[in-house]
């Protein structure tokens, strides 16, 4: 059954009709058309689908869209302001944190949440904070360096 409701993503409210059983990931990708958030496993194992819900990182593949009604959602598309990349986005590029890029949106979301909660994390805190996001390309080195670079500024 379709529910006429609305979702607020990156500060914009979208009227949507969503199935009760639809995941938040499907609603945002297919109904709203923001495809920056990726599906890697549909099982909360890889973290590619991470979004912020009221500032908290969530695997959107395992979260019902209806649960997100009335909450504030942030996807990778909402991390930069206009054409200006966020410091994390910029650091991911210059520190070698991006290769194939498929884990990048989820990784950036997790890193954003980590720095919001812990502005100056140790390397161990960064590594634990990002351990819900799998990356197969970088060995995590450039990603950890990027987060530490941003947090030390």
């Amino acid at each position: 059954m379709k529910n006429e409701t609305s979702l607020t993503v990156n500060g914009m409210t979208y009227p949507v009709a969503i199935d009760s059983h639809a995941t938040l990931l499907r609603a945002v990708r297919d109904d709203i058309g923001l495809t920056g958030t990726k599906e890697g496993c549909d099982d909360s194992e890889c973290g590619a689908c991470m979004m912020l819900i009221d500032g908290k990182p969530v695997n959107s593949c395992s979260y019902l869209a209806m649960q997100a009604v009335g909450r504030s959602l942030t996807t990778v598309e909402g991390l930069s302001s206009g054409e200006e990349l966020s410091p994390l986005q910029q650091a991911f590029l210059t520190a070698g944190g991006v290769q194939c890029g498929f884990c990048t949106p989820g990784m950036l979301i997790s890193a954003t949440a980590l720095l919001a909660a812990t502005p100056h994390p140790t390397e161990e805190e960064v590594r634990i904070g990002l351990s819900g996001n799998l990356c197969r390309c970088t060995g995590y080195d450039g990603i950890v360096k990027a987060v530490l670079q941003v947090s030390s500024k």
């Binding site: 920056g36 599906e39 990778v76 598309e77 210059t94 991006v98 194939c100 799998l134 197969r136």
Partner: protein, 759 residues
């Protein structure tokens, strides 16, 4: 000769696909959608070996919302495959592994497609499933491909019943040398299959316009995909266009032609665009592409001073159900059973066997990590036998300039021993460690592959430029680095150069992203194309400036008279007034000479062009109560020739080492007795996470190599995943006193080895 690091400023060079990747605006295949598109689902086999007696799709076809259901009856009767064509798109009469496709459905949405798949009726006569790939070569074993003798290359491959390929490396009389050795050391090792696991599950979309089909696919090899579609659907390659949007990793798992043919046929039948997106479960069991399990038996004759006088080996590799592009694996594995060592005599036999397991094909340095893992443990066992330090034994026996390899290839300068020296230094070899920690080392090698490539370069009227290349960017950055190299040739800013890539209608044929050869071959072609434009610019500038051509230089976006920068014409001015475009391929390096007359199953791997050589040293901590191994530190020293793009090259080492740690400790596909996967998901097939990954130190010991690729570079994509598991194995053995002879070295296996050693 000093170590080469290219002089270009690197710090601010950002890959041109980077902005889209960090903002979410970059599109991968699954991000695309088309008006009226249908969803595709496959019906897979219900057995891993069975005769198909009846397939009835009538109920599925009758379901409202189903646009098409197709089977073998709906496509041409054509087999495909690499060296051996042994497979149909859809099962014809036999299914040979659990991921075999019986039928494909195109429907309005996911739910209807799934329901339609469940309505397809299939009757089978189950056949004995042969999961044991060693037993499959027994003469009494049932045949997996009954018509193996009719394969066109059976003779060349040394095929025999369920053995698809047989290769030997033979040098001198190993039996006689073995008889005279001071010691004979033996070892037996087994490895589980391993998956590539790109984070992007594969996706394919096909859309027909008239007789021409465009296919968007997450493939590493668009030209091979095009050829596969043309072959299986019996249409000209000019009617097939493969476009690869951003590719979310591959690691070999997205090499080869796989599902583009099914989806093209389905879209034709459905009369609308059809989109396939794999689930993670399918990404494990349904792809004909994983790293092969192996049995590795090694025997070495050694003198008391460490001289290796003889190596005998028997290797058995699990090919799984179909050949795919892995027909050369037996010979590649045999070369790795010799390794980068000077051995007086060699006799290696390598068998590539069919089974009813998932097909194995190239995953990042196919065959090498497993054999290297075994061989490097064997080298430590040899050192222990003669009471020699493992580093000293390797320093004595590793290849160097002028040394002769297993096929009597004589090496030019090679940084093999330099890599050992550097890795040992970085890890602090010999330091006193707590009794639950130890250091292990492993050395390895991997060839460069010389392959044809072609590229275009053109200037736009505003002085910017566009590279047109068939090369495939799988994430490594090797295509993204091309603007930098062209900019250096032409005195331009890399930001002013765009790339048209991953479109088979645009660029000449390219091998794609495989074999660590994008820079080696595709950049060679791009540089040749840029060189033509350079000549055109010099001609035009000489005329415009009324200067002699040889007095001109290209710098800062202009052509100017050397020493008189004011006398110049900008590239933009020249470009606005003319058509500047070049094409090129560049000279193909020749394979080094070998004497391999005694070898059979020669498929070209007996000659290692511009070998990439490397040593990894690893410090581990072992919990003896649980068998859990923690990697404390990794030092990786590589000779990949000149390093052209450090951020890219380092990225390959960081990623390859961590993939190697996964292969060493946690990654292994578990098969049941019928060859069905028992852990086809990320919960039970464990990748290394950020919190498990250790600090990694990298050293580049490469020097200019005469037969190397562009600017003295060699490949780097595959090697970093090769020696890590071997180094970890040796470190574990140094802690617990005994080798773990099964890969992955899971806590259970480490614990069992500890218990066995204590008995």
């Amino acid at each position: 000769m000093s170590i080469l690091q290219h002089e270009v400023a690197q710090a601010d060079y950002v890959r041109s696909d980077g902005h889209g990747k960090v903002t979410g605006s970059g599109q991968y295949t699954a991000d695309l959608s088309f008006t009226g598109q249908a969803v595709a689902k496959f019906r897979y086999a219900d057995h891993s070996h069975a005769r198909v007696l009846r397939v009835d799709v009538s109920k599925a076809r009758a379901l409202p919302g189903v646009y098409a259901v197709i089977t073998h009856d709906d496509v041409p009767e054509v087999k495909y495959g690499g060296m051996v064509q042994d497979r149909y798109l859809f099962a014809k009469d036999i299914v040979r592994f659990e991921g075999e496709i019986i039928a494909a459905v195109a429907a309005m949405n996911d739910e209807i497609a799934k329901l339609a798949v469940s309505l397809i009726e299939v009757d089978y006569e189950p056949l004995p499933a042969i999961s044991d790939f060693v037993a499959s070569m027994d003469p009494s074993s049932a045949l997996i491909h009954e018509d193996w003798e009719t394969d066109s290359r059976a003779d060349e491959l040394g095929s025999n019943r369920n053995t698809l390929g047989y290769s030997t490396i033979v040098k001198g009389d190993a039996d006689a040398a073995m008889a005279k050795a001071d010691h004979i050391v033996t070892g037996r090792y087994t490895t589980d299959p391993v998956q590539g696991v790109p984070i992007e599950p594969r996706a394919v979309i096909a859309q027909w316009q008239g007789n021409k089909v465009t296919i968007w696919s997450s493939t590493q090899v668009p030209y091979a995909a095009r050829a596969g579609v043309a072959t299986t659907l019996q249409i000209p390659q000019s009617d097939v266009r493969i476009v690869v949007p951003l590719l979310g990793g591959g690691f070999g798992a997205k090499c080869d032609f796989h599902f583009e043919g099914h989806i093209a046929a389905l879209a034709r039948a459905a009369k609308r665009p059809v989109k396939l997106v794999f689930t993670r479960h399918e990404e494990f069991f349904a792809i004909g592409h994983r790293r092969e399990g192996m049995l590795i038996e090694l025997e070495t004759g050694v003198m008391n001073d460490g001289t290796l006088v003889a190596r005998r080996a028997r290797l058995v590799l699990d090919k799984g159900a179909y050949c795919g592009e892995g027909g050369f694996f037996a010979q590649m594995a045999a070369m790795h059973a010799c390794g980068p060592y000077v051995i007086d005599t060699v006799n290696v036999h390598s068998f590539l066997n069919y089974s009813n397991n998932q097909p194995s094909s190239s995953i990042r340095a196919p065959t090498a990590p497993q054999v290297c893992w075994a061989l490097e443990q064997h080298m430590d066992a040899i050192a222990k036998t003669i009471g020699m330090d493992p580093v000293a034994l390797r320093m004595k026996t590793l290849i160097e300039e002028g040394a002769e390899g297993p096929t009597r290839q004589v090496f030019d300068y090679i940084g093999m021993k330099d890599s050992l020296t550097k890795a040992v230094e970085m890890i602090g070899y010999g330091q006193t460690l707590p009794d639950d920690e130890a250091i292990g080392i492993a050395c390895g090698w991997w060839p460069c592959f010389a392959v044809e490539s072609g590229a275009y370069f053109k200037l736009n009227h505003d002085g910017t430029g566009t590279i047109v290349t068939g090369a495939q960017e799988n994430g490594t950055g090797s295509v993204m680095a091309m603007p930098k190299f062209v900019a250096e040739e032409l005195g331009m800013d890399p930001k002013d150069i765009s790339i048209l890539y991953q479109d088979t209608d645009a660029a000449p044929w390219d091998m794609g992203s495989s074999g660590s050869q994008t820079t080696f071959n595709s950049v060679r072609a791009v540089l040749a194309a840029a060189a033509e434009v350079r000549e055109q610019l010099l001609d035009a500038a000489a005329e415009a400036l009324e200067a002699a051509r040889e007095d001109l230089e290209l710098v800062g976006g202009a052509v100017s008279v050397k020493g008189t920068p004011s006398k110049a014409v900008t590239i933009a001015e020249l470009a606005a007034a003319g058509t500047f475009h070049g094409k090129g391929s560049g000279p193909l390096p020749e394979s080094p000479a070998v004497q391999a007359e005694g070898c059979v199953g020669r498929l070209g791997m007996e000659s290692f062009l511009a070998p990439q050589v490397f040593t990894h040293a690893v410090r581990v901590k072992v919990d003896r109560d649980t068998g859990v191994v923690r990697i404390v530190q990794v030092a990786a020293a590589h000779d990949s020739g000149a390093v052209l793009n450090p951020i890219g090259a380092n990225g390959q080492v960081y990623g390859g080492v961590v993939m190697g740690i996964g292969q060493a400790l946690s990654e292994g596909t578990i098969l049941d007795k019928d060859g069905k996967q028992r852990n086809p998901g990320l919960l039970d097939y464990k990748l290394v996470t950020c919190s498990d990954a250790p600090p990694i130190d990298i050293a580049w010991v490469g020097r200019f190599t005469p037969d190397a690729g562009p600017r003295g570079s060699k490949g780097i994509g595959e090697p970093p995943s090769v020696p890590t598991a071997g180094a970890i194995a040796n470190a574990i053995a140094n802690v617990i006193g005994s080798p773990v002879c099964s890969l992955p070295m899971t806590p259970e296996r480490v614990w069992e080895t500890i218990q066995g050693a204590a008995l």
